[in-house]
């Protein structure tokens, strides 16, 4: 897991914890759990929601660490300004990643699904929370991997499809130049999400 703190954001939103889980075996149950936690009444509901209070992101759709950071940054910024379009800062991260303005779409595409095997968990909170890694491993059955693997997990055809980026000519499909340009374009698209369209 990796943590970093933005000193210019208010304390309760300043710290980001990110972990990449690979070989996740309980995605189906996890998705079920998220859905039921959302509507669970009473104090158990509160507790259950706190236990799964993360952004769950399908790692196949993330093409670089900067891509993820950009979405997190824009989500925190929206929360700080009281301009969240979704209910929580965590769902806002998913919304920022998605090219469409439809929240359900964003969660269906970028969130957890039955076919997810590599999963990114993001917690945005205060720097004082020291048990985040434990909370993450309690929820997900899988192995924590280095975030450097993100570039290898990326499913380029899916990323291109969602962002409507035409596939490059077959000869430079895997050229480092082409991938670099596409990565930069995707980062721009996420950063500009709020002002596009």
């Amino acid at each position: 897991m990796q943590s970093f703190t933005y000193s210019h954001f208010p304390e309760h939103l300043s710290t980001v914890h990110v972990a990449l889980f690979s070989n996740v075996s309980n995605t189906a149950q996890l998705k079920q759990r998220l859905v039921s936690a959302a509507t669970m009444p009473g104090p158990e509901g509160e507790q259950e929601r706190a236990a799964v209070n993360f952004a769950f992101i399908d790692a196949r759709l993330i093409c670089s660490f900067l891509h993820l950071q950009t979405a997190i940054y824009q989500a925190i910024l929206a929360d700080v300004q009281g301009a969240l379009r979704t209910r929580t800062v965590h769902s806002e991260v998913l919304w920022a990643l998605s090219p469409s303005t439809n929240i359900t779409d964003a969660i269906r595409r970028y969130g957890i699904s039955e076919t997810t095997t590599s999963l990114i968990l993001v917690r945005i909170g205060s720097p004082n929370d020291t048990t985040v890694e434990k909370q993450m491993t309690d929820v997900v059955h899988g192995s924590i991997s280095s975030l450097d693997l993100l570039q290898d997990i990326a499913d380029w055809s899916l990323i291109r499809k969602y962002h409507k980026i035409p596939a490059p000519a077959p000869k430079d499909q895997h050229g480092e130049e082409t991938l670099k340009k596409t990565r930069e374009l995707v980062v721009s698209l996420v950063a500009c999400k709020g002002v596009l369209a």
């Binding site: 933005y6 954001f9 660490f65 940054y73 975030l147 950063a191």
Partner: protein, 261 residues
């Protein structure tokens, strides 16, 4: 209370100021153990409050301009034009965060001085700009003047093919960038005046503005600009004929269309 973005600006270094915006160099994301972000710096362009405008109008103009600039950049990126990528947008504060391009402006590299006249705040350490051929700044980029001109022509053509008009093409708004790996690239910057148009007139005027910029900042540059146009023509293909013809008209009458009659 200072907003988050204002705190971010306060932690960054002011590098230049114009009438419309201040430009800072800073870090957006905290430096982390994670080493994959090699270009950690960002350029922050802050369109500050204009005291001479009504606050409501000021906010909405600033918002629209930040959004417009961001959109133009994304559109260029989709068209494959080399431009700095967007890293952060805070439209309500009027701040745009862009990829830091570690390079030099073409104006400087062609010996036209370090900074544009609009950037008065320049710390004047290297005030004496005497072109000494022995320390030619171009040498570290391993590229000839003619190659740069060809790159300029083809980048502008790619942009015009996507129907984006830059609006302020000058040699200060182009940078040469030498990534640690890969070849030297020409990057177009400052899309603050950019807009979308399919009109031949607008594209011709865009080129004309650049031609004037060349002749006023770089003496005896006719040959250079001719080679810009040549590569523009090659990349543009069929569209060039009408733009070229219109450029000749624009040269006769100037940037503004006559409204007499």
């Amino acid at each position: 209370m200072a907003s988050s973005t204002q705190l971010l600006l306060a932690s960054s270094t002011l590098i230049s100021q114009g009438a419309e915006a201040k430009v800072y160099k800073g870090r957006l994301h905290p430096p982390s153990s994670h080493a994959s972000n090699t270009d950690e710096f960002v350029l922050l362009k802050h369109r500050f409050n204009k005291q001479y405008r009504h606050p409501t109008l000021d906010t909405s103009l600033t918002k629209a301009r930040v959004a417009g600039e961001a959109r133009a950049i994304v559109k260029c990126q989709r068209a494959g034009v080399n431009v700095p990528s967007v890293r952060m947008v805070d439209a309500s504060e009027g701040v745009l965060g862009l990829q830091w391009i570690d390079g030099k402006s073409i104006r400087f590299l062609l010996g036209g001085g370090a900074e544009g006249e609009e950037e008065v705040e320049e710390t004047s350490e290297d005030e004496t700009i005497d072109d000494q051929p022995e320390d030619d700044p171009l040498s570290e980029y391993n590229i000839s003047k003619d190659d740069i001109m060809r790159k300029i022509g083809s980048e502008i053509a790619k942009m015009h093919k996507a129907d984006i008009i830059h609006g302020d093409l000058t040699t200060s708004n182009m940078m040469l960038y030498h990534p640690r790996t890969g070849r030297t690239e020409l990057v177009l910057i400052d899309f603050g005046l950019a807009y979308t148009s399919t009109l031949v007139e607008d594209k011709a005027v865009d080129l004309y503005v650049l031609e004037r910029a060349f002749s006023s900042t770089h003496p005896a540059s006719e040959m250079l600009f001719a080679s810009v146009l040549k590569s523009y023509e090659q990349t543009m293909g069929k569209e060039w004929k009408s733009i070229g013809r219109r450029l000749d008209d624009v040269r006769l009458r100037g940037r503004k269309r006559s409204m007499v009659g």
